[in-house]
Symmetry: C2
Subunit: 138 residues, 2 copies
Amino acid sequence: MEVKVSMSYLDDEKYSVKNASDNELIIDMYAKEKKKNLSPMELLLSAITTCAAVEVVSMIKKRKRDFNDIKAESTGVRADSHPMYYKQINVMYEIYSSDLKDNEAERFISLALTKYCSVGSSIRKDTKVNHSFKIIRD
Amino acid sequence: MEVKVSMSYLDDEKYSVKNASDNELIIDMYAKEKKKNLSPMELLLSAITTCAAVEVVSMIKKRKRDFNDIKAESTGVRADSHPMYYKQINVMYEIYSSDLKDNEAERFISLALTKYCSVGSSIRKDTKVNHSFKIIRD
């Protein structure tokens, strides 16, 4: 199974990427003041967070638990010297459900990050991926 | 050095992510007909392609070579069974320059992908990252 993207140059720190369906993504590496788009390392962190979230939601629904919402806050800790790869990734999910159990959430998130999510399994083995969660019963 | 993103749920296969500067990215996993945004695995491929391109352009300019444009076509070959990680990534750059030499392009791209690009060094060691290039002299 193949994934394809095409990249075009917009300026030294700004690029456009299109997928096979011609959907466009703009990426920039500007400093905060000028920044309009995510950077490559922010994309990687976003990719693992959402990829696992899709799997978590799917497992919650398969288990026929109530599901209202899911949010996440993720941080990636980079190496101090080049190449500044992710030494550690921390993903915290907030799941809004009236009846999801703690041990179910723990198992679903763990399975999603380590087993089902293709992005999670594409990163280096010595990157420590930590997860945590809160279940909000509202 | 820490990178942070926040994720919100839009629907089971569509998510919004914001970085620390509040720049937004929409990610979806829809099938081609419905698709408007890149998927997580497309984001990973886009991230490595652009991250290395930034470094390549920087090296071309430091070397004071002519630089007019850079494009790329990247493919990622996924494992056949879950988790469908990238077994192989192929990046082909087209560099528009009147005087960049082949051995310089080869060295810059190789250094960018293997050494300078943080996304490249964040992926698993057994993912084979191949590169190729064309220099266009127009």
